[in-house]
Symmetry: C2
Subunit: 166 residues, 2 copies
């Protein structure tokens, strides 16, 4: 009977935990290509309408992903901290990006499927179910990356394909 | 025993079908506010780096959401068609947006939870699980709306809050 329950759970998932991880990492691969596409200088300086340069948006994404997952897994509150000592080096930020990729995989393995519907408060202020928090992380990344696409176009550069998540 | 299986399914969902619908409709409410925020003329004309004006992006979103769901529900292939007779009227597009909101709710009710893992081909060419198709609809909307935020900022206007999905 236990097998039946497990099979039912598997077949009746809207999206499984491993599909959601792959969905996020697929988006993160696109974001990585957007970072790579920027010229070094413009990555840290180019701006439209008073918005942050793309490096600032990427700092925010790095400050959310691993620290947010760490809070979800550990239950320990941390302060939101997006100031990073990147020394205006795109290579440094790509290195952090790749480290985060591994850490996300490791932390994800510690989230049992039941956890996604638990309510948690992150960074001492944002309250919601774990699934809603993780979708916020992903959606916020898509949102800011869409802004990066406009920055690249305004520099006369072709952004990576949105639909290619490989 | 049947109750136990049902309870297991409910508690073990990463995201339930009704949560995913609400997630999408929450994003659609933000997109509606972005449409409203644009001045009438700039909605149809303002562009950065050769990209489409926001009206063109919204036409694409309208051409995907209901037609895509209709294909998922009916299994019948249709042609992707984003040419719309909007006569450069923002009010007309907001009317279509609201009609789509209702149609999405009606079509969603016809998608049983088991369907999300079925593989379907949409618009005669895009193949993937139903869940991946629907996430593509949502992510594509977030992506293009993020571009709309830059358009608004470049016009000196404050976009709606990204985190407010009410």
């Amino acid at each position: 009977m236990e097998n039946t329950v497990e099979q039912q759970n598997e077949t009746a998932q809207v999206i499984t935990s491993s599909q959601l991880l792959e969905h996020w990492q697929g988006h993160r691969r696109v974001t990585r290509r957007v970072i790579e596409a920027f010229p070094e200088k413009e990555f840290f300086t180019h701006s439209i309408g008073g918005m942050r340069p793309f490096s600032g948006l990427v700092s925010e994404l790095l400050a959310i992903a691993v620290p947010g997952l760490q809070e979800i897994v550990s239950g320990k509150t941390s302060k939101f901290e997006e100031q990073m000592d990147h020394n205006n080096s795109k290579a440094k930020m790509l290195e952090w990006w790749d480290e985060a990729t591994e850490q996300i995989n490791e932390l994800w393995a510690k989230i049992p499927v039941e956890k996604f519907q638990e309510v948690v408060k992150l960074f001492g202020q944002y309250e919601g179910t774990v699934q809603s928090q993780i979708f916020y992380f992903i959606d916020n990344e898509i949102h800011h990356r869409g802004q990066g696409y406009v920055y690249l176009r305004s520099l006369g550069m072709e952004p990576p394909f949105f639909y290619d998540r490989s």
